[in-house]
Amino acid sequence: MLRFAVRRLISMVFVLFAISVLVFLIFNVIPNGDPAERLAGKTPTETEINRIRAEWGFNDSLPAQYVTTMKKVFTGDLVSYFTRLDVLEEIVKGIPRTFSLAIGAALLWMITAVVFGLFSAVKAGKFADRGLTVLALVGISMPVFWIGALMNHYLGFKAGWFPNGGYVPITENPFDWAYHLILPWTALAILFIGFYSRVLRSNVLDTINEDFVRTARAKGLSERRVLLKHVLRNSMIPIVTLWGLDFGAVVGGGAILTETVFDLQGVGQYAADSIGQLDVPPVLAITMFGAFFIVFLNAIVDIAYAALDPRIRLQ
């Protein structure tokens, strides 16, 4: 198990390196035009452009540029030329908010999807199943920012049942913190519930027909035990890995839309605002850290998968 984990972490380092190169290419190399001008913002002066060029080493060779860029990103030496704010500081301020949103939504969607998916599978073909399938399909067909905006407007602003966006840190007031997050959690979860409940349904239906489930029934085990200990346990394994990947994706950038709509001022919203301004340094940094987080989480997920499925780790 340990050897597996170590191998996995080593390959992760390699991927991280490759990602940093890719991000560097995306922002500084691929686009047409002068990178210094791009960074400088909407109405830059000549001196500013030159200063930026020197600071980032745009006259140097590509590898040297890469090193300079990486140094700036990882030592927190990044400043937005628009807002004059330190990029890393802003990111750190946004992290707890993004995490609050991601973790709550992830738990909500997982539990709901398992319940819906299992229920759907057990009642396969019947009306309840068809109904849930329709709901799931609608869920995955909706843009999350749209439904979020509508929920915020009708349930928050008009009906007043929920606060109209905004964020309260958990350290200030846990209840208020949760209260403000209920709508965002739901909006973000809807899409995933739709997707995961269908995947789980499909896995469960596959598993239910497996030989070992027949054996379990032949042993005289109660249907509940067969479903939970045998069917679900086996169907969940691929789901858990997917969940880990999606959670990483949400934190690493997927939350961007929900945060914007609900004004949570997390990392995602910071990215969104910067995009609107075409302000490159924050987007560069967030992309880098986001991707890193995801790769790291992927490695953890792989290791967890090995822990869950003995066939993987013992071979």
Binding site: A218, S222, R225, H230, R311
Partner: protein, 349 residues
Amino acid sequence: MAERLLTVENLEVSFRTEEGVVQAVDGVSFELEEGEVLAVVGESGSGKSVTAMTLMGLTRSPNAYFGGSARYGDQDLVTATDEELRRVRGSEIAMIFQDPMTSLNPVMRVGDQIIEQIQEHTDAADVEAREQSIELLERVGIPRAIDRVDSYPFEFSGGMRQRVMIALALSCDPSILIADEPTTALDVTIQAQILERLRELRAQTNAAVILVTHDLGVVADIADRIAVMYAGRIVEQGTLDEIFYDPQHPYTWGLLGSITRVDRPRPQRLPAIAGLPPSLVDRPEGCHFRPRCPHEFAKCTEAPPLQSRAEDGSAHTDRCWLTAEEKRSRREVRPGEIGLGEKEGAEVA
């Protein structure tokens, strides 16, 4: 006189599918006595597995329809509720399945799977159940059982896995053991070991066994009685000796004739029963075997009932309109050699 455990009467099982209604089991009747081994023999599609599974209620689904009865004690397994069936399964009637590779839960330790069954039907404590499971593994011949009880199924070979399945089946001391093609997925050498083990265990526990198989060779060693099935019906039923030495139905002749013999000169061509088994959706009228039978005649368009043609009305029954003398004369393709002979114009496999 041994106690009669199971009485199956006119069992019918059909499935509704996209292509129509599939009649898998078409009026099957037999009895099982304490301690005896009944072999149910037939090719794929004959309905033998469906019959066995139906006894445990494992074929129940929204698309399945049942008829007839299977009386066990004071219950009818065909109409029993799910809860009643659940109590019987694993504790009084246990089953061993064909493919040991896929029949065990891959992410659960072998010991836990046995313990689970024991604890479902008895109130054994964890420690007790664990000891019992180790003992069971030893009984079925798994070496170092005390270590292996914590292994996962994929850490065992096919033969070992099948032994685990047997251990599982025997864990609650069932009175009936149903073995559905227990050796088909295994090597020939392992087959022999498993059958040997089954025979020993049967002697120890006096459980009755229903052995479902397509292999007459397997049957010869272990069965007391044999029921030959074709296209959903039992076409012949009798003791081991009766079936092997005095077979009455042409299909049985075909089965016996197609066994390769090491004590006879090699034939030019491997004898086979010509033709293909019938579609279970669209069945031939009358005797199901008629299209492939070289001895068919006009009466065969009427379905023959299962009855004894012998004068003394013995328990050896068959489903063929031919008279006893006709059978005796037609069943030898060569002197001393039982076989089916060729049907004119039919394709040979």
